[in-house]
């Protein structure tokens, strides 16, 4: 009886992949992406199947699928996740002139196992009413945790989120473990409440007056700006808040710039199609689409950032955005250490 069942299940699990298909395992869940895939299919005739899941889950599933992965591309936000995927051994090297041309070496893996496709900065979102020009002067990641101005005013999401882990990991890469521990402990002391909700919810909390400043990814602010649903709690938040790129001055480390990107899965059935899709996404036109519809910074130097993003730089008087100078693979290497530091400092329960 069990055998019969086994047989039935196995039959239903057989995946017959016709040529002209690429299967994407992605943690990105934006409508903007779907539009791009449709465009890709229109141009090349290759069908794109998309499955969404949490990063760590996807990585371990692909690892277990081993010999016969059901996905050809693994796409995710955050270089830490890409590095972890590489470390788990589920990605393969890709030789592509197009990709080498379109994507600067800083935003791709040295062994060509993953390729960044968009950039997002982890910035501050502050209250228009309560934060003054003076408060913004000299505002950096470091001053956020040492300046008493921000005592009980900082809003940030929980330690289990990858973006925060990578932020902390970047500090480990730049400043070492000890200094980073101090930074984290300082941040915990400045928190307005126990972390809850996602990045946008932190901005909502700023608008509601629970804190004066929040840490969030830049593209989320773009989403807030474009929130049209009047019944949504995100409506009207962008009017009451503004975005700030920290560490942009001379001698400062630059803003934490993370990437989302993709790699071809090891033993992928549709390797060629997979490479084509990644190349497609790295082209100028698609890069500009990412910027326009999902408010992210393009990695392709030929592509121009959208007007909205340009306006952010303009408001702060920036010509370009100064980024941290680190090898993004380190975000993966130091991830566990970062998480341990965060947990060890009671990141999630500052207010007992």
């Amino acid at each position: 009886m069990k055998k019969l069942l086994l047989g039935l299940i196995l039959l239903s699990s057989m995946v017959v992949n016709a040529a002209g298909v690429v299967n994407v395992y992605t943690t990105r869940h934006y409508d903007a992406d779907d539009a791009l895939y449709k465009e890709f299919t229109r141009e090349t005739g290759i069908k794109v199947n998309v499955v969404s899941d949490k990063s760590a889950v996807s990585i371990s599933k692909l690892k277990e699928q081993g010999r016969a992965p059901l996905a050809d591309i693994f796409m995710t936000s955050d270089a830490g996740n890409l590095a972890k995927a590489k470390e788990a051994g589920i990605l393969q090297s890709v030789e592509s002139e197009t990709l080498e041309t379109n994507i600067p070496s800083k935003y791709q893996d040295d062994e060509n196992k993953w390729f960044g496709l968009t950039k997002r900065a982890r910035v501050f979102i502050y209250s228009n009413d309560r934060v003054s020009e003076e408060d913004l002067e000299g505002l950096t990641y470091e001053s956020l945790v040492t300046d008493s101005r921000w005592n009980d005013e900082v809003l940030v999401r929980s330690s289990s989120n990858m973006y925060n882990q990578s932020l902390v990991a970047s500090f480990v890469a730049l400043n070492g473990e000890e200094k980073t521990s101090e930074w984290v402990e300082g941040l915990v002391g400045q928190m307005a409440r126990n972390p809850k909700g996602n990045d946008r919810v932190q901005a909502v909390a700023v608008k509601d007056g629970e804190g004066d400043i929040a840490i969030a990814n830049s593209y989320y602010y773009g989403k807030l700006v474009n929130e049209t649903d009047k019944t949504s709690k995100y409506y009207g938040v962008a009017e009451k808040t503004s975005l700030y790129f920290p560490n942009q001055n001379e001698g400062e480390s630059g803003v934490h710039m993370n990437i989302s990107g993709a790699g071809v899965v090891k033993n992928a059935r549709n390797k060629e199609e997979a490479v084509k899709l990644i190349e497609f996404l790295s082209m100028k036109k698609q890069q500009e689409a990412f910027s326009a519809t999902n408010y992210e910074f393009p990695v392709n130097p030929e592509a121009k950032m959208s007007d909205l993003l340009a306006s952010w730089l303009e408001e702060q008087g920036l010509e370009t955005v100064k980024e941290q100078d680190i090898n993004l693979n380190l975000l993966g290497e130091y991830n566990e250490k970062a998480l341990n530091i965060m947990i060890g400092s009671n990141w999630d329960t500052p207010k007992k």
């Binding site: 009886m1 069942l5 086994l6 395992y25 289990s160 972390p195 809850k196 250490k337």
Partner: protein
Amino acid sequence: MKIFKIEDGIIKFFLLALILAFIVLPISDSIPLLFTPSTPYLDVLVEKGILWEYLLNTLELVFKVGLFSILLGFTSSYIVTMYDFKFKSIFKVLLTLPLAFPVYVGAYTYSSIFYTNKWLGNIFTGKLFMEGSVFIYGIFLYPYVYLACRSYLKDNLVEYIEASKTLGKSSLETFIKVIFPLSWPAVLGSTLFVIFETLSDFAVVEYYGVGTISKVITDSWMGLGQKDTAAKASMILLFVLTVIIFSEKILRRKKRYEGISDRKIKPEKPSGLATIMIYLFLSIVVSLSFILPTYEMLVFTIAKSSYIASIDLLGIASNTLITLFIAIFIIIVISSIFASIVNQLKRGKKFFSTIAVMGYSIPSLILALAVYIFTLSLDNFIYDLFHIEWLVLMNTRTALVIALVIKFISVAFSNYSNSLAKISPNVFHASTMLRHNFLGTFFKVNLPLLKKPTKFVFIILFIDLIKELTLTYTLRPFNFKTLSTEIYRYAGNEMIEVAAIPSLVIVGICSLMIIYLELGGKNVKNRKDKL
């Protein structure tokens, strides 16, 4: 008949061994993981006392949820049994409907209710209610206690109450000295089930930001890919569970007070003041546990009705149903056979019953981890033997179905066992004496007799499985969506209004089924007899 000509003893032995292996084997594969060296992550948790803190939180959660459920469940069952008042039958049904709500749906729905009604949030999301998690578990799981106590009170206490009254004791004294103590075993047994469900959930505490052992398991397994750390944390949780079960047995002192006769309690009309209090209490409970959250979900669904097509509701629902039906089918087949075999045993009935119940009491995360590891090694085993590239069990529903079967088999098993036990054993002996071996008896006597309980079992299993999240989320294969996983996903992306759509499907279907059972006169949860 020819097909029944197989040696009886061999069949029984083989079937029993198969069934036991099915339940026990997955768990044994995880044991080696307990002895691996510690990881930095685990070290930090231990050194900074965080593991200890999470353990205390878990205990606190269990204790408070237990108390809260007893408060809500026992009081309402008392009211409904002892008193007669207008609209009582409506209240009786409404009090069982919270079971239609998966606890995680309750959590998400309430987070927006609390946001828009800050005063409500202030009451129920403070330290006392552990950020709201105690409230959620209690308000949606109290019906277990309600149902168990309701039937117990009605059937068993008439004479004791009368005796107390004739001895001159007031209602209050009767309650304190007679009713509550005698009901204690029923109360404890049903609260235990509330605790099982609480410990099996990971989504509610995750959402409300409460650090429990579940968080360690999910973070280490799903976040860091450290299965061994997850296994070790699971041990702690199992230890907690064992302590709880043990305490329950001690507190109950193995007593189960039976009624003296078949007389049922005659409910009486309450005084004016009591009537007001009754309506007040019941209205509050029913509003909070069903009316308010359902209303909120309806509002959301209507607001986001444009999403119904885009989230592929039909596809998700059919996938959910397919998995459901496969699992239910297997459960019914296995447990009917198992219950039939155990029914005929002269010795060891209790032992096998306990094994069957084990699956239900193991917190779902732990079971998921065990089955996951087992399926993994099974995959490697198959590959080493047959070298079939594409045959990967992890890509199928196999692991999920196995876990669902192990977890819920006790529901069917205990129902079938009880049904069979009600029949004189001589009926089965008669079949034997009339030239039928075990298989013959099974098909011609047991199965027909189990038809009626099967309807009931099917509905209970359906409700349990459609609500199930933990096993489904952790063990599902690639590109596998069910109503529960999609709710979790949308809520996780702060799209609670969209999550309301599949939530409404679950709550709607389950409500209808619960109402059907209630009106049919059956107890929705017949589980108290298991322990």
